[in-house]
């Protein structure tokens, strides 16, 4: 039997990584009441331990953990496979879920008066289900098992959106469910075509048998389009802003930080592991082109938001675009294939840092909402002094997202820039730098509102909420310090850990996007009265600002149009056809 078809020692860890959360989910349902929360909290250390063990087994890169379920080898049986990238994502998922669980103890504890309450019980069960399905997505090695994993992820995520039972969230949840189901159907259609052509659904076997022919091209385009719909990449982002903004804070954190990473990771897995030879430069440019559009649209609309949670949701939209910039940069012209290298390392690092930072952001926003009763940006005056912990968490995570060293995003940006330089695709360099500036703009917008000196804020933080604030701060600190970890043990291109004290060069590389971002925020942001900076500056900018606001309004209108159902579903078909055409053109 070829080496890939043998269960490797330590492979059982992969099975446990998937089973432990699901076993917890079933136990929580059976025991009911407060026990669901207790089971969930008990599962956290176990799951974290398993993820760390898997990462430990895979350090020193190049290896792979394989597990043959039932001792049946593919193509007849199903295999679980994990490589260094999966291991890192597994640990990231475990850490972020643990942080969210700590935060959610405040919002989702069963009240003393009832034996069992709807929202707490279902939240904890769904949280474990999200964890289990994500782990399955990360280690699954068979396209159909991955389809079931995607459906599990959707069924676990959708009820989280409408957990509070309001009309708007129910509507957002229904929209999410229908669009996500469309995506799964496209994915399944592609998988069916692949089985029809090659007689197997195992990723490793497909990689060996795949030839650049018409049917695999169509399958690749369909599967990618379906996964893009589930990841909410522009222009398929119809469901994301209202769903992520309307959900309860802990649920938003899970949805933004983790759930969308699942389908993104599948796109990476598909192109880098299953079909590297199919990827022409054209199709990869299409993917990254959509990503660039997402960055621009998401950031500019974020700048125009009046509510904090919507701003953060649109920020997620922009950051998703960032995740897709790695694809053309992974293209190796020498072998005309996608290769794991700087680009993959950068992509994984970006995903991990976004997961931690975005979770912290939503958690901080949730604490602010709970304390203030609303999350309007203009009402945040003085909150910097009333809730220093939450604002510090928000600031740290925001700066981490911008790419201030030693954050993970800084390292990711360096890796992507290096890949762009190596492959001489200078236009992506521009996009990457612009992305940093745009991220800085809306982060600074929020911070400016929050730290404006004004009348004393009326926010009150309850004692139970303080633990949540600390959890947010911890995750935010994690995201800011990610660059210090020894990443090169798993992703060789990642440079050895940045050392403190940071060099002046590194600091300046991190600081100039902030300056540029501040200028963008002043230019395009919608400031209420009174503007925090002098009216004199505003008057002087005059015409430039009016032009900028007009552009912003236009982009917001385009976004509104695209987020109507007919336009979105048409876009899905157009994206699928575009990808299909691009894949064929490269031949």
């Amino acid at each position: 039997m070829p080496a890939q078809d043998l269960t490797t020692p330590g492979g059982l860890l992969l099975v446990l990584a998937v089973l432990v959360p699901f076993a917890g989910m079933l136990a929580g349902l059976a025991l009911g009441g407060r026990n669901a929360q207790r089971v969930a909290l008990a599962t956290m250390p176990a799951g974290l331990g398993i993820a760390v063990a898997i990462a430990g087994a895979l350090s020193g890169a190049g290896g792979e953990l394989v597990y043959l379920l039932g001792n049946w080898a593919p193509p007849l049986g199903v295999a679980l496979r994990a490589d260094a990238a999966s291991a890192l994502m597994l640990v990231a998922v475990a850490v972020v879920i643990s942080g969210i669980a700590v935060y959610a103890c405040g919002d989702f504890s069963t009240p003393r008066s009832a034996r069992e309450a709807r929202a707490p019980l279902t939240f904890w069960i769904l949280l474990l289900a999200v964890w289990g399905s994500l782990n399955l997505v990360l280690v699954g090695g068979d396209l159909f098992t991955l389809y079931v994993a995607l459906e599990l992820l959707t069924f676990a995520a959708v009820p989280l959106v409408c957990l509070d039972g309001r009309g708007e969230t129910l509507q957002s949840a229904l929209r999410y469910l229908l669009f996500a189901l469309l995506g799964s159907m496209f994915y399944l259609l592609g998988a069916v075509l692949l089985y029809g052509s090659y007689g197997t659904l195992d990723i490793a076997l497909l990689a060996a048998r795949l030839r650049p022919e018409a049917v695999p091209f169509a399958a690749a385009a369909l599967m990618t389009a379906g996964l893009l719909a589930k990841t909410a990449l522009f222009p398929l982002h119809i469901w994301l802003p209202p769903a992520h903004a309307g959900a309860p804070a802990a649920a938003s954190a899970v949805l933004s930080a983790l759930v969308i990473k699942g389908s993104w990771f599948l796109v990476v897995r598909l192109w880098l592991k299953a079909m590297p030879s199919l990827a022409g430069l054209a199709s990869m440019q299409v993917l990254a082109g959509l990503g660039a559009a997402a960055i621009v649209l998401g950031s500019i609309v974020a700048l125009r938001q009046e509510r904090l949670k919507l701003l953060i949701a649109f920020s997620t939209l922009a950051q998703i675009g960032y995740l897709f910039l790695m694809f053309p940069l992974a293209f190796d012209p020498a072998s005309a294939q996608l290769a794991a290298g700087n680009a993959l390392a950068g992509g994984i690092m970006q995903a991990v840092s976004h997961a931690t930072a975005k979770a912290a952001m939503f958690m901080a926003a949730g604490s602010i909402y709970a304390a203030l009763g609303h999350d309007r940006l203009e009402g945040l005056t003085g909150i910097g002094r009333a809730m220093p912990v939450s604002m510090l968490a928000f600031a740290l995570s925001g700066l981490a997202l911008v790419g201030l060293p030693p954050s993970g995003a800084y390292l990711a940006k360096e890796l992507l820039l290096e890949a762009a330089a190596q492959s001489a695709q200078w236009w992506w360099t521009i996009v990457i730098q612009a992305g940093g500036m745009l991220t800085a703009s809306y982060v600074l917008l929020v911070l400016a509102h929050a730290f404006t000196l004004g009348e004393r804020s009326t926010a009150r933080v309850s004692r139970a909420a303080r633990i949540g604030e600390m959890a947010a701060l911890t995750l935010a600190a994690c995201s800011l310090l990610l660059g210090l970890l020894p990443w090169d043990a798993w992703l060789p291109p990642a440079r050895p850990a940045l050392s403190l004290p940071l060099s002046l060069e590194a600091l300046s590389k991190g600081l100039w996007p902030l300056v540029a971002g501040a200028l963008l925020a002043i230019w395009l942001g919608r400031w209420g009265h009174p503007a925090p900076f002098g009216k004199a500056i505003v008057a002087r900018l005059g015409a430039a600002r009016r032009a900028g606001l007009a552009v912003g309004k236009l982009i917001e209108r385009i976004d509104c149009r695209l987020r109507q159902w007919p336009a979105a579903s048409v876009s899905l078909l157009v994206v699928a056809m575009l990808l299909g055409a691009a894949v064929m053109v490269a031949r």
Binding site: F144, E151, Q171, L177, L178, V192, E306, G528, C560
Partner: protein, 111 residues
């Protein structure tokens, strides 16, 4: 024309009809029906693939047939969840439109 070819093309047309329904139907229940049509089209294609794989004394390749059983059950549970959401939305708001309300856009911040 063999049965798999006929039903394979039928499956392609079903997917097309379903996609048309998904795009143009304003009512979420009709979108759900259209989604189920797409699903049955995909499943029919898998069935055609299974029939083409008849060998070793079996009428069809059993692996795709097993996948079909799983797929049909998963599609049913998706429909059940969607219907429950739909009914709850109706009970809560009295309407089932998916179109987001146009946001009231005070341009006060545009100074």
């Amino acid at each position: 024309m063999t049965a798999p070819t006929i039903f394979g093309i039928c499956a392609a047309l079903l997917v097309g009809i379903g996609l048309f329904g998904v795009i143009i139907s304003p009512h979420p229940l009709r979108k759900l029906l259209a989604f189920n049509l797409i699903g049955s089209g995909v499943f029919m294609l898998l069935g055609a693939v299974a029939r083409r794989g008849a060998a070793a004394g079996m009428g069809g390749d059993p692996v795709p047939q097993a996948l079909l059983i799983t797929g049909i059950v998963v599609a049913f549970s998706a429909t059940a969840l969607a219907v429950a959401l739909l009914l709850r939305l109706f009970n809560e708001t009295g309407s089932v439109t998916l179109a987001a309300d146009a946001r009231a856009h005070p341009d006060a911040g545009d100074t």
